[in-house]
């Protein structure tokens, strides 16, 4: 801060300048003048700094200084306005510095042939730094998928991943899927992966490959960093292909294409529930194509099976809308297949039973959900759904109609109507009104008979635990189940789960909703619950089938004829010894669903989720974890 830091004009310099101007100055005058010159220079430098700052530069230019001089009414110093820095040269003997001022040969300049080009035009160029959700800039020069060609690294990654997923090594595939699920930088590759997945059509003979591609879909859908956007449509169509098409692989009855269809249906509902809002009208379109398949008698039974499973996966509302009204027409065809006992028909008949089973499971849940939603039409079934505690899932569960979020119920209905009529379906969708539950039940009962009642059981049916004799269609359908009265049932489970998977989403079904987080058991408990649930399910069906008469008693028709008798309380016991709801011992093994109003806190979150979000951070992950469990949770 001391004054010495400033450069000073010495007295001698002043004298020298005075001499050059032809003046003689005394020492004292020169000293004073020197000091004053210093001060004025500093002052001018100070104010010129202001011009520099406003010109948004860091370098003080001669121009700035001249401006400062001008505004303090001093003549500007001309001749130093060059952009480039001045070159100072020193003369050693005199300790003198001077600006190099070369002579310029004007003649040479004028006659020069290398005429300098005019300076480039001032222009504006846009550069975009794309930030991902975490605020990281993509590497220099990268642009998102829409505008970008692949970098080498990405290309390599793409090759490795596809090779690993479609290759032989299951471990490698697992790793690749895992990475696909969590990698944040693969947005650019999304279209390529979607393209690969659309290759399902070319590998319809290879169940294994189809399975892997579906897993790829699952990983992409789960990746929280990916914005699927309109690619959802493409993914959905690939998945639908697996659900509905008579795959080449299904020619061989040994191929378990049923499992694939179940899995694909699950995936469909998962995509739909997590990303359905990205493509409007998706729900309508899916329902339409499912319905089309269902109403087409030329299609093979495995396609029908897929349609039913798909409807079931989309929720009981879809079943009610599409499957139920269509059932009478379809029933005749199915019945014909089932009643044909010729040997040549054996395979088809087996398929028919598959379809039958799938329909049965679907309508059962339909009935159950209807029964649940009926008493509280305003609040919907949400109050009896502990599942709505689960954040993002809340919307789905709490929505009474289980209709997809983006489309209001009524609108969707109308939309379907128009499409359906165009499609030639005979159902009167325009006048569609929910069939009252008793009517629905009786109609369904006319098709399924007691097997329906047995499966659609209340807690009382759990009371019985004794082995039973399966009815005849149950026998044909699930051969192994028939003579199971001991723990070795579990051994035959694969077959069973394949069928059970058809109620995959468990949307809104209290029985299959994963336990709320508070009750969520640890892994071991869950697996225990899972296995025991399978057992209990089997046992429950057995118990129901034990005697027809009992099942009639068990099914309380009165409840439905007088729905206002009070909200039904379903107590669903997972694992452990089955208890009536009156003795609620052994909590760890029980999940009892009591109609408690859902906490309102959930709503805003659900709402925000419904806003269009780019990036979809973290959301799908959570959902999947839940649906993942439900995948293996049998009814």
């Amino acid at each position: 801060m001391s004054e010495r830091r400033f450069a000073e004009v010495s007295r001698d310099s002043v004298k020298l300048m005075a001499e050059s101007a032809g003046l003689e100055l005394g020492d004292e005058v020169a000293a004073l003048l020197a000091e004053d010159v210093c001060y004025r220079l500093r002052e001018a430098a100070q104010s010129s700094a202001q011009f520099m700052r406003h010109a948004k530069r860091k370098k003080l230019t001669v121009d700035d200084f001249n401006k400062a001089l001008r505004w303090s009414n001093v003549e500007a110093i001309c001749g130093y306005g060059a952009q480039d820095a001045m070159l100072f040269r020193s003369v050693k003997e005199g300790e003198l510095f001077f600006v190099e001022d070369r002579d310029i040969n004007l003649i040479e300049l004028a006659l020069a042939t290398n005429i300098p080009k005019g300076c480039a035009e001032t222009m504006v160029r846009a550069n975009v730094a794309y930030l991902d959700g975490k605020g990281n800039v993509g590497p220099q020069g990268t642009v998102p998928a829409a505008v970008q060609s692949l970098s080498d690294d990405l290309l390599k990654y793409y090759q490795q991943i596809t090779r690993a997923i479609l290759g032989e090594d299951p471990h490698l595939m697992k790793v690749a899927l895992q990475d696909l699920q969590s990698n944040s930088k693969i947005a650019a590759l999304l279209p390529y992966f979607v393209y690969v997945i659309s290759g399902v059509k070319s590998v319809s003979h290879d169940l294994e490959q189809l399975n892997r591609l579906l897993h790829m879909v699952k990983s992409l859908v789960q990746n929280p960093y990916l914005y699927l956007g309109s690619y959802v449509r493409s993914l959905v169509s690939s998945v639908m292909y697996c659900i509905l098409e008579p795959l080449a692989a299904s020619i061989n009855p040994l191929n378990d294409h049923w499992t694939l269809r179940d899995y694909a249906a699950l995936l469909l509902s998962h995509i739909f529930w997590t990303h359905g809002d990205l493509v409007s009208g998706l729900y309508r379109q899916i329902l339409l194509s499912l319905q089309k398949v269902l109403s087409d008698p030329v299609r093979p039974l495995c396609s029908h099976y897929g349609a039913v499973v798909g409807l079931h996966a989309l929720g009981w509302k879809a079943v009610e809308r599409v499957l139920f009204p269509h059932l009478p027409a379809y029933w005749a065809n199915l019945q014909a297949v089932l009643d044909d006992y010729s040997v040549s028909n054996a395979q088809v008949k087996a398929d028919g039973h598959k379809v039958y089973g799938a329909i049965l499971v679907a309508v059962e849940r339909l009935l159950k959900m209807k029964a649940l939603s009926l008493p509280q039409p305003a609040e919907g079934c949400s109050s009896s759904q502990p599942g709505c505690l689960a954040g993002p899932m809340g919307y789905r569960v709490s929505s009474p109609g289980l209709s997809p979020p983006p489309e209001p119920l009524a609108e969707a209905g109308l939309g379907i109507a128009s499409h359906l009529q165009a499609g030639g379906a005979g159902c009167q969708w325009e006048e569609w009104s929910p069939v009252p539950l008793p009517a629905m039940y009786s109609e369904l009962y006319s098709f399924f008979g007691d097997s329906l009642a047995v499966r659609f059981s209340t807690e009382q049916s759990f009371g019985g635990f004794s082995p039973c004799t399966p009815s005849h269609f149950r026998e044909t359908r699930k051969e192994p189940l028939g003579h199971v009265s001991n723990p070795d049932t579990t051994r035959k489970m694969p077959q069973l789960t394949a069928n059970l998977n058809i109620s995959p989403r468990q949307d809104g079904s209290p029985r299959t909703d994963p336990p709320p987080p508070s009750l969520a058991a640890t892994g071991s408990v869950r697996s225990l619950a899972r296995s025991s649930m399978q057992r209990s399910r089997a046992s429950s069906s057995r118990s129901g089938q034990r005697s027809i008469g009992l099942s009639r008693d068990v099914f309380p028709k009165a409840r439905f004829t007088s729905p206002h008798s009070g909200p039904p309380t379903f107590s669903f016991v997972i694992g452990g010894r089955q208890m009536g709801r009156r003795c609620q011992g052994r909590r760890p093994f029980q999940t009892i669903f009591v109609p408690t109003p859902p906490p309102p806190v959930v709503l805003p979150r659900v709402y925000t989720h419904k806003l269009p979000v780019i990036g979809r951070v973290c959301k799908p992950l959570r959902r999947w974890t839940r649906s993942h469990y439900s995948l293996h949770l049998p009814l």
């Binding site: 100070q46 530069r57 001032t122 794309y130 930030l131 309109s230 990205l278 983006p406 419904k610 806003l611």
Partner: protein, 812 residues
């Protein structure tokens, strides 16, 4: 010019309008004149000018035909009488305006002004000033009153008839200034008055007794050799007091040091001054370094005359906030020691704002200090500020289903809900903190504005919700080959145009959309157009002129500030040549040149509602203009140094100005009052940004810090440290969640504004005392730093969908 004259005449704010607001207009136009700040200003200017400009030249510039506004102001000044007393006590910009004779030095200043006026043959003004200041008649020497004879007799006569009547007083002001004797100065602009004044003494002669009067307060008051002892004594005392008081009392060091040094210099004790400076300058806070450097270069009495910084220091009281306990302690000490020298300085040059309660800590003091004149007085920030937003006009959205359907097909989900919500929130009933809709007259919405609003609403439904986990992508517009030197950038609200102001005096406008820039056809061609056709607006455009870039020539100095009008029809540019120009973006020609600043105009900005604009520059005043008036409507005076940046509040009722005196002031557009003074920056302020909800203000300075202010409470609420160089641009995201700052250090930084504002719970105590506790959480709030290669970030802008645009010139 295609302004709607008729519409504007109905605005009471403009000149020549209804009686009611005429008083306030004239008051604000004339009142600052009687303000001390202005008195100082006159002297500053006089000093700066150094008498080099010929008075005639200066006046010629201003000789414009008599304005209609002026005539009106004469016609209807009846209301001033009632509003005048309020104006007298209501306090203006600096708040130190008192009609009664103030402390002796204020009176002295006044006398100096009077003397000055008299000398410049402005006896009328002198008379009025005298009256206004409540000085006795004999305050002026008889010669001075006699001099009034040189003014027009008529005006003087009328003045004597109803001298008490303020209304006639006003008329005399105007008459006298217009007719001011020899000067053919008919412009009623205040500035004209200033400049003619400042120019006159130059003509009068070399001696400046008036300035000496101002400085004379520094006359000898003690033995210069004892200054050292005085100061060391105080220093010892302060260092020995309790910790809690030490920080507060340490505030005294700097102003005392400066004043003592100046006194020494003034009294020609050069060597003593030098020694004093060397001994104690090291003790001062580092943020005063800039000022100390200026100070150190000043060693002669003669130098003091022209030095603005010093005049500021001398003429404004340095404000300190000290708790009562600390103050008592200090007082006792000085009384015990009979240290009159220091006590005198404190009495004369310092304003000690005493508060009851806990002494403040060092960090609290440091946060608020740093400005040229100390902290803001507490009462300066007490006025109520209507920071709420104005109600948006209700525009029913035409529900074009086709459009939405098309959108849906593209796979972009469009929810009706958020739209409804956004509209709903806008059309909510009046915010209690919002000003009345009609507080200041705003231009009516044209049809095109409504269309734009609709566009805006549609766009905002697609807006990305930003947050700490969802940062905006940044699009950087790099100006290449900008050898001329890019000095200012602006982007239209809809992000369709970008304009650059260059040091070579040009303004260049680019279209950043495929839509090219076209001029309107020439008049001859326009005649050929079928005016009834539907697409007449399209037909008037000359397709031949379509280009991406249009260059606007007109300024004669670097363009330091540019601003698009909200309707994208106009562009303002302010330049070093002292003018502000209004350009049409239809014809790409200059429409108006607004003169008045006469010094470099550092910044200008359009009001968010158009029509008005604000400018500020080297002359230390900000001016409020309307596009159809070539004179300012308001002059905001009070800053002690250059006004470096100006911003309109989102509700258009307030204007914020940042200055080189390291303060930010908020001015009320309605009455020209300064309603907030924010201190805390340690360098000239170069960037300001209001939060979209109007509640907060962010400011950035050369010190590389961003400070956040709560406008309602008048408090500093946050400090964002991270930048290493001057911050030239600040911008809040559209919903206010993110604050982006761009700096000379070639970075864009994103800050979590939500968190910064959420965290603060202003309890009553803090609000009452203004003592803030800033937690140092810059690192938590910093969401990202994004480097450019070598491009200072001059401008930031959030598109309507919340993409961040940044601009700057590549600096090879």
């Amino acid at each position: 010019m295609n302004f709607k004259k008729a519409g504007l005449d109905s605005c009471p704010l403009t000149l020549g309008s209804t009686d009611q607001s005429e008083g306030s207009i004239l008051r604000s136009r004339w009142f600052p004149f009687f303000n001390f700040a202005h008195a100082q200003f006159i002297f500053k200017m006089a000093a700066v000018q150094g008498g080099m400009v010929d008075a005639k030249d200066e006046l010629d510039i201003k000789s414009e035909p008599p304005s209609d506004g002026f005539g009106n102001s004469n016609a209807n000044d009846g209301r001033l009488l009632s509003s005048s007393p309020g104006a007298g006590t209501g306090g203006t910009a600096t708040g130190n305006n008192k009609p009664a004779p103030g402390p002796p030095e204020e009176q002295q200043t006044l006398l100096a002004v009077l003397q000055f006026l008299k000398k410049s043959k402005l006896a009328e003004s002198a008379e009025i000033l005298r009256r206004e200041a409540g000085l006795p008649e004999d305050a002026l020497d008889p010669k001075g009153t006699d001099a009034s004879g040189s003014g027009p007799g008529l005006a003087a006569g009328s003045g004597q008839v109803d001298g008490v009547d303020a209304s006639s007083l006003l008329s005399r002001v105007t008459v006298s200034s217009s007719a001011a004797a020899q000067a053919p100065k008919k412009d009623s602009s205040l500035a004209a008055c200033f400049y003619s004044l400042s120019a006159s003494p130059a003509a009068a002669g070399e001696d400046q007794p008036d300035v000496s009067v101002v400085l004379s307060a520094y006359s000898q008051q003690g033995d210069p050799s004892l200054y050292d002892a005085y100061y060391s004594g105080l220093k010892r005392f302060i260092e020995s007091v309790l910790d809690c008081h030490r920080a507060e009392l340490s505030q005294l060091f700097y102003p005392l040091f400066v004043h003592m040094y100046l006194e020494l210099v003034y009294n020609n004790n050069e060597s003593v001054a030098k020694a004093f400076f060397e001994k104690f300058s090291g003790d001062q806070e580092c943020y005063y370094e800039q000022d100390l450097r200026i100070l150190s270069s000043l060693t002669k009495k003669e130098h003091m005359k022209g030095n603005e910084t010093l005049l500021d220091f001398r003429t404004s009281k340095f404000v300190l906030r000290i708790s009562r306990d600390s103050y008592q302690l200090l007082k006792r000490h000085l009384q015990e020691r009979q240290n009159n020298q220091i006590w005198n300085i404190i009495q004369e040059h310092l304003y000690i704002d005493i508060f009851d309660g806990m002494p403040r800590s060092k960090s609290q003091i440091d946060a608020m200090s740093g400005s040229l004149a100390g902290e803001a007085r507490r009462e300066a920030n007490k006025a109520k500020v209507f920071y709420g937003l104005l109600k948006e006009p209700e525009i029913e959205l035409p529900l074009d289903d086709e459009d939405e359907e098309a959108e849906n097909e593209e796979g972009k989900p469009k929810k009706k809900k958020p739209k409804k919500d956004s509209m709903g929130s806008k059309s909510k009933k009046q915010d209690p903190n919002a000003p009345l809709q009609t507080r200041i007259p705003l231009p009516e919405l044209k049809d095109s504005d409504k269309l734009d609003k609709i566009m805006y609403m549609k766009e905002s439904t697609k807006r990305i919700r930003l947050g700490s986990d969802n940062l905006p992508s940044i699009c950087f517009y790099t100006f290449l080959n900008a050898y001329q030197g890019l000095t200012a950038v602006d982007v239209t609200d809809d992000s369709s145009l970008i304009a650059g102001g260059f040091a070579d005096s040009t303004v260049r406008v680019w279209s950043v959309t495929p839509k090219k820039l076209r001029k309107v056809k020439s008049a001859a061609d326009l005649n050929l157009i079928d005016k009834e056709s539907d697409d007449v607006l399209e037909r008037i455009m000359d397709e031949k002129t379509a280009s991406e870039l249009k260059i606007l020539y007109g300024h004669s100095g670097p363009v330091y500030g540019i601003s698009f009008s909200p309707d994208r029809n106009y562009l303002l540019s302010s330049s070093e040549d002292g003018t502000i120009r209004l350009w049409s973006l239809q014809t790409f020609t200059c429409l108006v040149g607004y003169k008045g600043h006469n010094y470099p105009v550092w910044d200008t900005q359009f009001s968010p509602y158009g029509y008005y604009f604000v400018s500020g520059g080297h002359d230390r005043v900000a001016r409020l203009w309307a596009t159809d008036h070539y004179q300012p409507l308001r002059i905001f005076a009070g800053h002690l140094a250059d006004i470096t940046c100006t911003r309109f509040h989102p509700n258009s009722n307030y204007v914020a100005t940042g200055s080189s005196d390291r303060t930010i002031r908020l001015w009320d557009v309605l009455n020209g009052n300064c309603v907030r003074i924010f201190t805390g920056h340690k360098g000239p302020i170069h960037a300001l940004a209001f939060s979209p909800n109007g509640k907060f203000l962010a400011s950035g300075a050369t010190d590389g810090r961003v400070l956040l202010w709560d406008i309602g409470h008048g408090l500093m609420v946050g400090e964002l440290k991270g930048h290493t160089d001057t911050i030239y641009s600040l911008r809040f995201s559209r919903d206010g969640e993110i604050l982006a700052s761009g700096s000379m250090d070639n970075t864009v930084r994103l800050w979590d504004a939500m968190k910064a504002f959420d965290d603060l719970e202003t309890d009553d105590f803090t609000a009452a005392t203004g003592h803030i506790h800033l937690q140092d959480n810059s690192q938590e709030l910093l969401l990202g730093t994004y480097m450019t290669k070598s491009t200072p970030v001059l401008h930031l802008h959030f598109t309507r969908r919340n993409l961040l645009l940044a601009a700057g010139a590549y600096n090879p």
